[in-house]
Assembly symmetry: C2
Homo-oligomer: 385 residues x 2
């Protein structure tokens, strides 16, 4: 099929779905992640974060307690709801991904088949809406290496797959684990970039007793824990030399790199002031060490989910220009509040904040803004080909 | 004494010292923080971070193991060394502060007297070099409230004291602890701003096994843990309404606010999407909720210890202009490497990186650069008065 390429497409590269197969798995579980129904809630509740466990335990014994997690509305599960959201916000094309925590929690012997099922489900959704939908696949990371590699091979046969979404735990001990190198190499060879996304956050204790008591909602784990998790994961890859070991590897970092644009200078300075580390990181075969800035500008892309002009400018500058940043919405998370039923059928302020940030930082209608809003995604992810 | 006010002073507001009284305390301790001597090291070693415990334990049993912590050179303890460093880097005036972890670890009955001793020691140093030295005092936070308040009163009698340095633990459970409000109020009434500085970082586990094995030096706790600790501490204060409760409180945040300039948009969006929280934060007596941006521009200053043009620009923009940012060096941490003896008598690259960031972001010699390099500190901290 030949597709008409839109002139100024708006591409959302950060937009999640839970297909029905995945919801069944979550509903059958007793530990997080899980889905639960409560008499006082019209929708089932989705409980993902460790920080939500205290409120889950409370709600299971006290029917008047505030409900844990968030409502699992149609925005999380329904393709028509996704398409309606896209139309309402002038989004030409979405690159869907399974939302966290992906398949990280599955038993090793189930993960391969489940990944096949989920990835096939995404491919069917995308095929039903040519030019409007692509997806990032999901890997069965708890399975044996050969199963993971077979899953990558499967993804290369799916015409709408444009990369994979990955959490920070890898095979269980982070993305600086050398056992991941064959997987990173297979992804690089298959031209499948990694969309790196947080899930595990930081240990609850860092947010203090008032946060644990629910006084601040989910603000601290989501606003700070998520970005710091991404930053730590990428910094570990950088320090371990993963980017040098797999030079064709490409990463797209969620939430504008967590905090990487702001902290890259501090990371670089800390490396520079550690003689032993600089020696170790000298690069292979006599090559000089690449700085974190060089890695950012050669192997890393960022999404533009940052909700501010200040952050967006830093993200652009960290990448050396506007050609490494790609618009995203984080739908269906952060629905409008204060409207009956969550207002998910209306205009989403969370989307508006991110569009505004691009317009303010780069100039509404400018060539650079158009690149961030869609042009970069078309080029980097080879859309409409 | 009337002081000649320099025309374009360079003021270093982030520069630490350990007076001799403090070194004696650290040397007598068996748990971190502590100072230890090793046969293979010309200088005693200073061990501050939880992440340094494994290498400390190894070094105590294996004389060939790498040494833990960092060398406690004259740069940490000697006033002539500090003054020589200042002259070498064209720093007109330094606002000294005790380095972390301050007095956080002292028994309650010792803390008050030790604070008095340490603050008096800083005052004597400053008095010996009129116009060149001021200081941030240290509070005995483990002591009873009346002792802490008496310590604030003592600080108001010391002519060179311009604020206090504070860690993130407060009275033990963070800076959103309501028990701190009388202390914050007393500081506000005394026009003593808080210089907020990290120490505790994040739990080691977040950095993974390779970092724990020492493969990455101290890079992750220092480059990422420190800034995230500061960000979490201030976000907790914001969510708890501390800035509204004590509107005259002024904070100066170390390391350009940790990650706050980059993440303020995400914090604001997460608050905005939590209806219950927005209701609670509605402000007192019918006032509307202030955004994190407003708090940043009304009650917060940042130092310029960020080591990059990208970060510095974001820090300036987060504050709504260049009048809320103040140059700092973080001396004596991050001495030059690769030179015999650490090169502490030479030119410090860490200083150069921060000067360069200001020059590149704001224009070398521009009025804005002059404000960040010293003018703002003179105004905000009432220097040369």
């Amino acid at each position: 099929m030949t597709l008409q390429i839109p002139i100024s497409p708006v591409v959302d590269i950060h937009t999640h779905m839970y297909p029905p197969e995945y919801i069944s798995i979550l509903s059958s579980r007793d530990t997080i992640p899980l889905v639960r129904t409560f008499p006082s809630s019209p929708d089932p509740r989705l409980i993902l974060l460790e920080s939500e466990i205290p409120s889950l335990e409370l709600a299971l014994t006290d029917p008047t307690a505030p409900l844990p997690g968030r409502p699992l509305t149609k925005s999380f599960t329904s393709l028509p709801a996704k398409l309606a959201f896209m139309s309402r916000h002038n989004i030409t094309t979405s690159v869907l991904s399974l939302a966290n925590p992906w398949l990280d929690f599955l038993p090793p012997d189930e993960a391969g088949a489940t990944a096949h099922e989920i990835n096939t489900s995404f491919e069917s959704m995308c095929a039903s809406e040519p030019g409007r939908l692509y997806f990032f696949g999901t890997l069965p990371l708890t399975a044996p290496l050969e199963t993971i590699l077979a899953s990558i091979t499967h993804l290369t046969t799916l015409p709408h797959c444009r990369g994979i979404i990955l959490g920070t735990s890898g095979l269980g001990s982070g993305l600086d684990d050398p056992s991941l190198l064959p997987i990173f190499s297979a992804l690089a060879t298959s031209t499948l970039p990694i969309f790196l996304h947080p899930h595990y956050g930081l240990p609850n204790a860092v947010y203090g007793p008032r946060s644990a008591a629910g006084e601040y909602g989910h603000v601290l784990p989501l606003a700070l824990g998520f970005p710091m998790e991404t930053t730590i994961a990428v910094a570990r890859m950088f320090l371990a030399g993963v980017f040098d070991a797999v030079p064709e590897l490409r990463m797209i970092l969620a939430h504008s790199g967590g905090t990487l644009p702001f902290l890259a200078g501090r990371i670089e300075s800390c490396v520079l002031h550690d003689a032993a580390l600089v020696g170790k990181m000298g690069g292979k075969e006599g090559k000089r060490r690449r700085t974190v800035w060089e890695v950012l500008r050669e192997q890393v892309y960022l999404d533009a989910v940052i909700y501010s002009e200040v952050g967006l400018k830093a993200a652009v500058e960290a990448g050396g220009g506007a050609d490494r940043l790609m618009f995203g919405t984080d739908h269906p998370f952060f629905p409008p509040v204060g409207v009956e039923g969550g207002g998910e059928d209306g205009v989403w302020e969370s989307v508006g904040l991110n569009v505004q940030a691009v317009d303010k930082a780069l100039g509404e209608g400018s060539e650079e803004a158009r690149m961030v809003m869609g042009g970069n995604a078309v080029r980097v992810l080879r859309l409409f080909e």
